[in-house]
Symmetry: C2
Subunit: 181 residues, 2 copies
Amino acid sequence: MRVLGVDPGSGATGYGLIERKAGAIQHLRHGVLRPPRGAELAERLDFLHRELLAIVTLDAPEIAVVERVFIAANPRSALVLGQARGAILASLGGAGVRVAELAARQVKKAVTGSGAADKAQMQTMVTRLLSLDAVPPTDAADALALALTYAGAGPLAELPLRNRRRSSRRATTQFVLGRSR
Amino acid sequence: MRVLGVDPGSGATGYGLIERKAGAIQHLRHGVLRPPRGAELAERLDFLHRELLAIVTLDAPEIAVVERVFIAANPRSALVLGQARGAILASLGGAGVRVAELAARQVKKAVTGSGAADKAQMQTMVTRLLSLDAVPPTDAADALALALTYAGAGPLAELPLRNRRRSSRRATTQFVLGRSR
């Protein structure tokens, strides 16, 4: 199963693709989409829509995972974020990719053990869990973390893995994620 | 010149198309896009993206006009509106249609004479100005009003119309709009 994590933003949208196969998780690729600076808003949103459509067409993920938005910021930033999300979700919908949402806190906890982890900690853990040669940019790391959490906390939890600690769902997730090193 | 007004909303997105020709304004068509209730968010946004793309591909407007957002509502509604706007603007950007923004107050003032006009007044005036047989739904009326205001307050103001009152930009707009009856 291929899982695409997407971290939408108007300036930078991170994405990360992983594959779960026989209980192990493999990194496929990740990146950051940056609409051309200075372009009109509609062109920038179309850029996100098109680029993401190209990715899902090429890599055919079974599911895309985005962060659930708990509004804390101001209405202006909510609008700007909403616009980027709108372009991206429309693209996923158009490609027929199922979309799941995960809370940021849940992702941080699954990947680092702490729901209050900062971006640097997330980058470090994602790099380790996926045995990456280089630390991914923050937006891509967040996207990979979304995919990892979904793959670990979701369907993976149902696999009959050895050493799986049934008493703790979080521990199970971390164990499974750790196996891909 | 064809002008498309669009009033984005997650539940209902109004659109209205008019044509300015030789100083007169003609109504072409209008409608309301309603994503299927109960569908997933990504599918709903894709619906808006696709339907609007079909409209601009068919009717080839030179410009699309959307309402400028002055954030007054809460962050949650700003996010929801932003998502609909994102899908719609991406669609316009993808079709290469230029996008202009107008403030709601400016549109209300141009169409009804009052910046505080309510929806019913807008519907009434749009119906009169375009000599429509029936009153359009509110979302479509708002979209037509955007297009009318752009056509009247923008390029039309530069046309050498008879009886044009150069001393008042607003009066000019209203006169021009009135000519299409």
